[in-house]
């Protein structure tokens, strides 16, 4: 179970391959990769991600602990970037491994829902029209109620 926070880019494919090699005899691997999208109205020049260094890792590890209790996971990895990102760059990744596909899927979805709304990250968009902090979505908050 690994949590990595970094400002530098990473290679999602290489990460998954490495993760798979480490996850001995587990049958099912699920990954989620988040990518910086362009803004629909105004050109996104960069996405800045602020975080709370002394809390971020603790918060994500706690989410993984809960996921581990609820589902049978053989391995789990969360990578999340902070700092400045450009359009089409990878923001973050969750990878889960289990003997059962349902467990791998459920744990990955759970972690994504919690990372969205309970890990201390804040996104600021810099576009042609200026900058703005990304607002949290009610649908993201609502998604937590299903767990």
């Amino acid at each position: 179970m690994t949590v990595i926070l970094q400002s530098s880019v990473f290679n999602p494919g290489a990460t998954i391959n490495e993760f798979q090699k480490q996850s001995i005899n587990c049958g099912a691997i699920v990954s989620f990769t988040g990518v910086v999208r362009n803004n629909e109205e105004s050109n996104l020049k960069k996405l800045h991600i602020e975080h709370y260094p002394s809390m971020t890792k603790i918060a994500i590890e706690e989410m993984i602990n809960v996921a581990n209790k609820r589902w049978k996971l053989s391995n789990c990895l969360v990578i999340h970037r902070y700092g400045n990102l450009k359009v089409n760059e990878i923001i973050m990744m969750v990878v889960t491994a289990s003997s059962h596909r349902v467990d791998a899927f459920q744990a990955a979805e759970y972690l994504m829902d919690y990372l969205k709304s309970r890990a201390p990250f804040w996104k600021k968009e810099f576009t042609d029209k200026g900058s703005n902090w990304v607002l949290s979505k009610e649908t993201d908050e609502a998604a937590l109620t299903r767990w």
């Binding site: 994504m112 309970r118 804040w122 902090w133």
Partner: protein, 86 residues
């Protein structure tokens, strides 16, 4: 009532609003709510940022809590908007 030295952190637009990312404060506030009321008295920036609490979240010693939570013996209190990770 003993005064306690506490570290306060601000993130995102709250950081921009109060104009600092971190400060130390000697306080006799016993919980988050009292601390917020104390901060609002500092100046108009704080008063304006903390005018409405709907969009403010708080962590005491790196743990998400609510505004009624005690800050006695706490070392670090952080204020920030709803998170937008992932």
């Amino acid at each position: 009532m003993k005064l306690e030295m506490i570290k306060i952190l601000y993130f995102s637009w709250i950081r921009e609003g109060v104009g600092t990312s971190e400060e130390k404060l000697e306080t006799k506030s016993e919980n988050v709510k009292e601390l917020i009321n104390e901060l609002k008295l500092k100046n108009e920036k704080y008063n304006s940022v903390f005018a409405k609490l709907d969009n403010i979240r708080v962590a005491v010693d790196q743990k998400l809590v609510n505004f009624e939570t005690s800050i006695k013996n706490a070392e670090e209190v952080a204020f920030f908007p709803p998170m937008t990770g992932g």
